[in-house]
Symmetry: D2
Subunit: 345 residues, 4 copies
């Protein structure tokens, strides 16, 4: 089979470098084009020096896109910028996987409320498939535009879907307490991400209004066929990568530990990247991989279910899940190029 | 006034070294005796070399205690060991501040259920005052035996007391999601505390059964005069010291942001170590100090109150609160020797 | 005695916040004025929120300086800016301690070569006393302008002075391999200081051309009365604060371990902030304090002397040493307000 | 070609887990046997839970070795234990790559002096080939017993070999200042490796007497055909993995930057894992990979050459270099299974 030709739009951020890191060893594709408007003409490894000798592609402009035959492009662009691209190239033959938030929500209105931005391409919202392979495999197979899930939503949705699908918990009483590594905030030099502000430190942020709240609710509304209500609080960990989400939910009926474990085992029986762990997983257990590690338990004393969900925010929470979606869209084995083993320690 | 004579029982752990660090600069006391059964005859600074030239006291055995006149002793001993000491020296004239968990719970039965140990001195449980100055100042003043609060309970109790005292929340529906630095686990070389297991990592532990759960509930039952039920989950942060606790509670009646802030301002009007913060506090904001920083907010969308509570686990969560209690017991200014300023960064 | 009135010029950086942290508990001074041109009218604790309730002074402009009676001002300004201030206020009655590099070198020419800047006030270079109390106590006593030493030079100079003063090593064959925490680079949001670039990472920088090289050489030329030549390489540690400097020098004559230790003990017999350590010191052993910990040893096999020197770059390497200089200038006890105990862990 | 059958002797340490991590994705071998005397019968992923679902091999005893046909075994054992194994199985048909220090030195006498242990199998010292592929490729090809290099020596030897081979520096005046991550000290729970002792900290250790000194000298004596003398000082970094070595040497003749760079480019022209970097490399630039990144520069002012050498101590400094050696011994492409890309950040 001829190798699929891939474009990566946006080279300077972590999403771009992770895509390249993963795709470089993927046997069935070739990276045909990498763009960066600010660094045209430089090498990819000039932007990411640790890739010297590994990924020395010359960076080009989006405007040169017609020079390339492409089967699929990944958009590693900020939200608000992605939609421009999707609109501009809507008639192109390539498929698109957008890693921004522009096409993840359920309507133009909801987007504009939570992102405080005009949405210039609502048609894309209609067409886009939410790229969560464990939930929407069949739709992804046939999609031309994937809205690749956000990092926090990935951890929360995979943690909650079995319970909500089976209608076993109060859907309007969900607490999602997340802790993320600092790469979730991107590569830009912001005071909040300075070493001295993050190291040996920890804090909550974005209380009550974080955009990923509505993304989680939107997807879980569909899974549960009910209107969910989620209290979502992100916290900033002194680690580079990784999200651990602790979820608290209230069963509506009788619950026990065995039933709970079986529910998850059944739900994820065919999901190669979901590991149901015997003990509480740590974020380093999935570092550098596409795994989502889950641990569920029932507290009889309090009548609560606790779910712990762990991912690498840059991989299962971004670039890795995007490649997983690409594999599905190309009818490749879902795990191709994703045989990544945790770097631990 | 003659300086008060202080003994520190147990020199090798972090609690011991923090007590010495704080008391060395306290103007009204002198450290008369420091014991360590395993290192008798060595200097305190042999055990803690960073204190060379600062705290070079010779370590003695508990058995030499009659050689000293003491006004007060701090027990920096593991739980299960403290009660032996308290029992053995119950007729001594000195006051005791116990930093272990042995006298914090409400009964011998509860202790034995949660600590899986016989309690050999239930009389002490009766007599002991829970050393939370913001709640029990008057009792502490007259106490001879203080059960110095646990680190997680300190953060949770100070975060919850105003709401429970005022009877404004569902008392049986409380979620306490805590994140702690590694010193909470003590100074011993355990695999779980190895650098490579903690660094760049994060995980939950002690789900459902952590002993601090019952300590929180026991104290808050008294504050609220109701039977509280708390879901408590601790997590291990890659930081040396600090606890951040995120609390989720449900108002029973109408709530708003202003009322909430006023409630806390009133409740802590005379508490020199509670800072009500305008923004979400970070753990480094209190590092090295006796502060408890609180931030409260109400989420109208979900009808929930979120409280964030931050302490230095070794100070407000242990040695600093103990010195605060000592000051109160000696009728000294509550803040004496505790004018510690956060080391940040 | 009336409290001395102190001004701090430049509030936003780490040097400013450390000065305030130290001076707040100093018994003989009062902070009369803190300036910040960019944040006039705000509180000091708005700039450094961890100081809420501790240091809530209102920030003013340098232009308001005539509204205050001042005994001494600290300049916590960038190099290149300090000299403007010193020149502008040269006729003012207050003493000046400048924490920048503007007056540390031996001549205008040397400054301009290494700093790539015009020096607009060479008169200040003549007048300024290099503020290393262990070497120049008497001159500091009478100085009106102190050039407070750089962080790397402090660690290197204190490590080398005894050997060079005694003329026991090859003065033109000195290797100074330093490792510093990230606060040495200041508080600004620069890519190089982002958490993800520093955490779990380590690298050398500024090879061959770091400005502190010439500062070390200039001072040690005076100490040794010879022309020293130093190979200085700084490295960036994933820690907030602290410098450890490893020094390699070649004895000119016969050397042994005992002679070496005695040399240092004699040289620093009256230096309250130099601790000669029995074992290799670690940077956390001095964290938050004004100590310089030294360890010296002789390697018979290779005929080399190794010196390890450790400081807190923000304290002995900046604000603490500045306060030490202030004490000396005011005829106060050298250690006043500097009874800081290491925060460890 | 039939897959080669591999045994790994010693499963519990980092070397064992890294070997498994690398070999799991190696196309031409199969892991046939993993031993652990302390955990026989358990799964490899019970010992290293992050490998659940990835490496679930059952652990067996060394005593079962005759049940397996093996082409090669890796010894991931402590020094002092490896030699027992090598002696016991000297007549077995499989090749051995020993990752301990037991066969790295030049004689029984030198071993016993620096390791303070009897060497029970000096015959092995004669036979063993030092597994540095960049220096001894041809000998490795034909070897039956490989002494896999130590981590510090790997970084120092690759940094120094071109200069010593070309006879361009003073061979008896070499300073090797190394900084290592904590995994270099192994997986055991030792006080020195506790999070609170390593985090935000930094110190030198093993001054003058570290065993890797003599390993470096022994190999470089051969490379230079002279008697080298090295001052080696290791330091402990607050990072999991990675070594950065800063080397200072004195040219014997005229040196310049261009000549220096060419020398290294020529020397490593055929070395797929040595990257000559344009800027100073950082340890995260090679994290998770088999690269050794080198940067060399000449300081005209001081007449010194500085070399910076960076590796991942667990990979190029242990398991990765071992696999590289295995590939060479099996006549496979040197890079097989080692297409690892840096995990950064």
């Amino acid at each position: 089979m001829a190798k699929k030709k891939i474009g990566i739009i946006g080279a300077t951020g972590y999403t771009g470098s992770e895509l390249v890191r993963i795709l470089t060893n993927h046997p069935d594709i070739e990276i045909t084009m990498i763009t960066s408007e600010s660094r045209v003409g430089e090498l990819f490894s000039d932007v990411h020096p640790f890739l010297q000798g590994i990924a020395d592609q010359k960076l080009v402009s989006i405007n040169q896109i017609d020079d390339y035959e492409l089967d699929l492009v990944f958009l590693a662009l900020p939200h608000g910028v992605s939609m421009d691209f999707v609109k501009r190239f809507k008639h192109k033959p390539f498929k698109i996987i957008d890693l921004s938030g522009d096409f993840r929500l359920n309507s133009k209105e909801v987007y504009e409320e939570w992102y405080k931005l005009n949405h210039i391409f609502p048609e894309g919202i209609e067409k886009a498939v939410f790229g969560s392979p464990e939930l929407f495999f069949d739709k992804i197979k046939d999609a031309n535009l994937i809205a690749n899930p956000g990092c926090f939503p990935t951890s929360a949705i995979l943690g909650l879907a079995p319970l909500l699908k089976a209608n076993l918990i109060e859907e309007d009483n969900i607490i999602v307490d997340s802790k993320t590594g600092v790469t979730g905030a991107g590569i830009k030099a912001k005071t909040v991400n300075l070493y001295s502000n993050v190291n040996d430190n920890f804090k909550a942020y974005g209380l009550k209004y974080h955009r990923h709240t509505i993304e989680m609710q939107g997807v879980l509304d569909k899974v549960s066929e009910k209107e969910t209500c989620i209290q979502f609080t992100p916290h900033l960990l002194p680690v580079d990568r990784g999200i651990l989400t602790t979820i608290y939910v209230r069963p509506t009926g009788k619950m026990d530990e065995i039933k709970l474990k079986e529910l998850y085992a059944d739900f994820y029986a065919n999901a190669p990247f979901v590991r149901l762990r015997k003990q509480e997983p740590a974020i380093k257990d999935v570092r550098g991989t596409n795994y989502c590690d889950l641990y569920v338990t029932y507290d009889k004393r309090t009548n609560m279910v606790i779910v712990i969900s762990v991912i690498d925010n840059l991989i299962k929470g971004a670039a890795g899940q995007a490649v997983q979606n690409m594999n599905i869209m190309f009818n490749l084995e879902e795990t191709k190029g994703l045989n990544l083993i945790p770097l631990n320690p």
